[in-house]
Assembly symmetry: C2
Homo-oligomer: 132 residues x 2
DNA sequence: AGCACACATGACGTTAACGTAAACGAAACG
DNA sequence: CGTTTCGTTTACGTTAACGTCATGTGTGCT
């Protein structure tokens, strides 16, 4: 069975982050480990959130933005109004991401073209070198 | 005719950036405006580079990474070895971008799913409210 | 008891990408 | 000629996301 509670070290090993990072996320209210005396114990919920945090970061979302998204992902107990608001945020974020994907596609195409040009140029330069 | 040289203010208005930004980019050797006395005058080449800089930034590329890409984009006068190196950087960057695109697609799919779930939940909540 | 070890809490340091303020030169305008 | 208007340099301030001590505490071995 996957232990239901994990120490800070187990978390670090599992997700490859430092203790400092986990404490920082707690301070920023992204995680809510329970306390056993002085020590932190991370729940299954915390692990779920951390997974999403790390993915969010890979796209350059700020921690603050991620916090808003997390609210959306855990909206089970929210009131209607609150849920509506978080959905709205999610829609905005979705559009932003789609726009970003479009731009990314553009940039990829551009870069590809440049690389082809570069290869061609390289080929011609090498040909010259051989000739000389 | 598009003026071949632009003042810092014209640049700012055209690209929606601050003078500080342009001076900063010059200090970082991303732009090379010529000097008329004390003042900067930006060339067509600077405008091209700035456009690419701004696009790069939208993907979270650091200015340093962007500088390397710019070298690739303006490699006409490079030596073979240098060109080969910049091409290599470009290839790496391309793979990174493609990977990022894949992750972005994943995240978009996830978010879409969550939003559908949210809408459904909202609908059922509203139905309850009407019933009550 | 003595000691290592895991964890905790400050609090200051770091990097990137500018913002912002001070202090000055040149030019254009009334 | 005085003063806005642009522009310049120098330099310190700022935010995000942690890193890196310094210092303190509770726990389990031996």
């Amino acid at each position: 069975m996957t232990e239901t509670l994990m120490t800070i070290r187990q978390m670090c090993d599992t997700f490859n982050v430092t203790p400092r990072t986990l404490r920082f996320y707690e301070a920023k209210e992204l995680l809510f480990p329970i306390r056993e005396g002085q020590k932190r114990l991370f729940t299954r919920r915390d692990r779920g959130r951390l997974k999403l945090i790390l993915r969010g970061k890979r796209f350059g979302f700020s921690l603050e933005e991620i916090r808003q998204l997390l609210d959306l992902y855990h909206a089970d107990d929210q009131q209607t109004t609150q849920l509506a608001k978080t959905c709205e945020i999610g829609e905005l974020r979705l559009r932003a991401m789609q726009a970003q994907r479009a731009e990314l596609d553009d940039a990829i195409a551009d870069l590809k073209k440049q690389l082809e040009w570069g290869s061609a140029k390289l080929a011609s330069l090498r040909a010259q070198n051989v000739a000389a």
